[in-house]
């Protein structure tokens, strides 16, 4: 043992270390393609199935539904927690006879208007922010002030300014979308690689053409995440706002559906309304945004899956 440590200590000294043994050189010819075992092999069916994200998520949803059903049956109190099947039944009834789809559409229509106006204002603000220094200051100050302010807190004010109805809803929606989208877009623009910016200017692009041809696609990953956050904020705000004053706005939306059924102690329908809210959220996230992601940033190699 002592001998071994002594040996390794000696090796540290270059003069006393033994030289590497001399070895013969050798040459070899690369093997012809055909004689390889595997160069490329299709994956097994199981491997291919588990690679599909939608399938994995579906499995997760089924699992959650099973847990829900099991717990509700065990609890056996439909006034507090109805079963999954009862909720599905209420959802079906709501769609067939209760005008749930009509109400969802009412909500969605208001939502799209607010979302659209919010995005439009956000693009104006960010274009101003990247072209002028005062614009940057305006954006930074305004987002710092208003982003933490919950949109729903503006509702009483909106009711006074715009009265009961769609206009107030759109106002709070714009507020919930605008700052999230503007902030993300602006930080996306700031993080565009200087090389790409120089390339764009090298082409002689300036002003709006430069923004549309270079900055927006280059910052698209950030813009998309801003749009997603904006969408989620808007959806939440809308349902909350409808719960508070859906009564008075003409036909009423999903929030109103939930509120009304709670008053009538139709708890499965309350759950059906909530389920609809979740369903629409899932649909937008997994169909609209993921498609948008797939045909843009994923395809361009700007985001890894």
């Amino acid at each position: 043992m002592a001998n071994v440590t002594h040996m390794s200590r000696v090796r540290l000294h270059a003069e006393t270390a033994p030289e590497a043994p001399s070895r013969p050189e050798y040459y070899s010819e690369p093997v012809a393609d055909e004689s390889f075992g595997v160069v490329e092999k299709p994956l097994s069916r199981w491997e291919r199935l588990t690679r599909i994200g939608a399938l994995r998520k579906l499995f997760l949803l089924v699992l959650l539904a099973l847990i829900w059903e099991g717990y509700a049956r065990w609890l056996d109190n439909p006034l507090i927690f109805p079963t999954f099947l009862a909720t599905m039944g209420a959802l079906f009834d709501g769609i067939v006879s209760g005008g749930l789809l009509q109400m969802s559409w009412t909500s969605l229509r208001v939502l799209l208007v607010g979302y659209g106006v919010g995005i439009l204002l956000a693009s104006l603000l960010t274009v101003l922010a990247i072209t002028t220094r005062i614009g940057t200051d305006i954006l930074e100050t305004m987002t710092a002030m208003f982003n933490p302010l919950p949109a729903i807190a503006l509702l009483p004010l909106a009711l006074i300014w715009f009265g009961l109805g769609e206009a107030s809803l759109v106002f709070v929606l714009v507020h919930s979308v605008l700052w999230a989208v503007a902030l993300n877009t602006h930080s996306g623009f700031l993080s565009v690689s200087p090389t790409l910016k120089m390339v764009g200017r090298n082409y002689g692009l300036r002003g709006l053409r430069y923004v549309f041809a270079i900055l927006i696609p280059a910052a698209f990953a950030s813009i998309l995440s801003g749009l997603k956050i904006g969408w989620a904020f808007a959806w939440r705000t809308l349902i909350a706002a409808e719960l508070v004053f859906g009564v008075s706005s003409g036909s009423g939306g999903l929030g109103w559906f939930i509120y009304q059924n709670k008053n009538m102690l139709e708890i499965p329908s309350v759950f059906a309304g909530l389920f609809m809210v979740i369903l629409i959220g899932l649909l937008v996230e997994n169909v609209v945004f993921s498609t948008l992601e797939r045909v843009t940033v994923r395809r361009w190699g700007m985001q890894n899956s």
């Binding site: 690689s193 090389t195 790409l196 120089m198 390339v199 200017r201 090298n202 082409y203 280059a218 700007m302």
Partner: protein, 266 residues
Amino acid sequence: MTLQSSAAALLEVDGVTLQYKTEAHLVTATYRVSFKVQSGDRFVLLGPSGCGKSTLLKAVGGYLTPTEGSIRLQGRTVDRPGPDRMMVFQEFDQLLPWKTIADNVAFPLLASGKYGRREAREKALEYIAKVNLSRFAEAYPHTLSGGMKQRVAIARGMAMEPAILLMDEPFAALDALTRRKMQDELLQLWDDTHFTVLFVTHSIPEAIRIGNRILLLSPHPGQVKAELNSLDRDNTDPQTHQALEDKINGILFADRVEEELEVHHG
């Protein structure tokens, strides 16, 4: 008299001092640098890092305004970036990731209004073929290797048929084997069309291989030390190559030896 001589040169850099500001300092990158590039030149700016050669190239590109002196291309003062001076950068991320290779090459042709959609595409495919990437015309940049991306960038620059092609150490980030191959390809392309190129490098062998004329710059700030003719392309004699390398080494690093001597004396 001066007007006539400036009409002869394609690019005229005249007493250019470049300064830029960092957080705490005003840095002078080059001091009163002058040189003239003739049409068809493969003009190399060579110097150690910190000699302001890249800054100088960016000024020719129109990204920086000289604090002193002037830069004229075909008699017109350079005051902004433009497609008559296409740049090839060192970075691999210079291709637009959201466009295919063909679209990347065609885009400046369209954006500058030089060609219509169909001609731009034809032109793009022609130059992509020149750099042997026809198979990848419809691929996206992130699927290509570094060397291939640089070839696309060169094709993009050349397809515009600019007055001058500006190359900022385009091969510096490549491995030695790919680099050697790319140098040969660039020279072959030059044999084809005899474009004018202003090439920045810090590698002396690369400067000798690529250039027909070499401007040597000293560091901190960049000042002209010499302007040399490179060797003939068909001169493959390693001894003359070595002699020129040694000569350039001597010119570029003469100061350093003197400084060391001074220290010794002190």
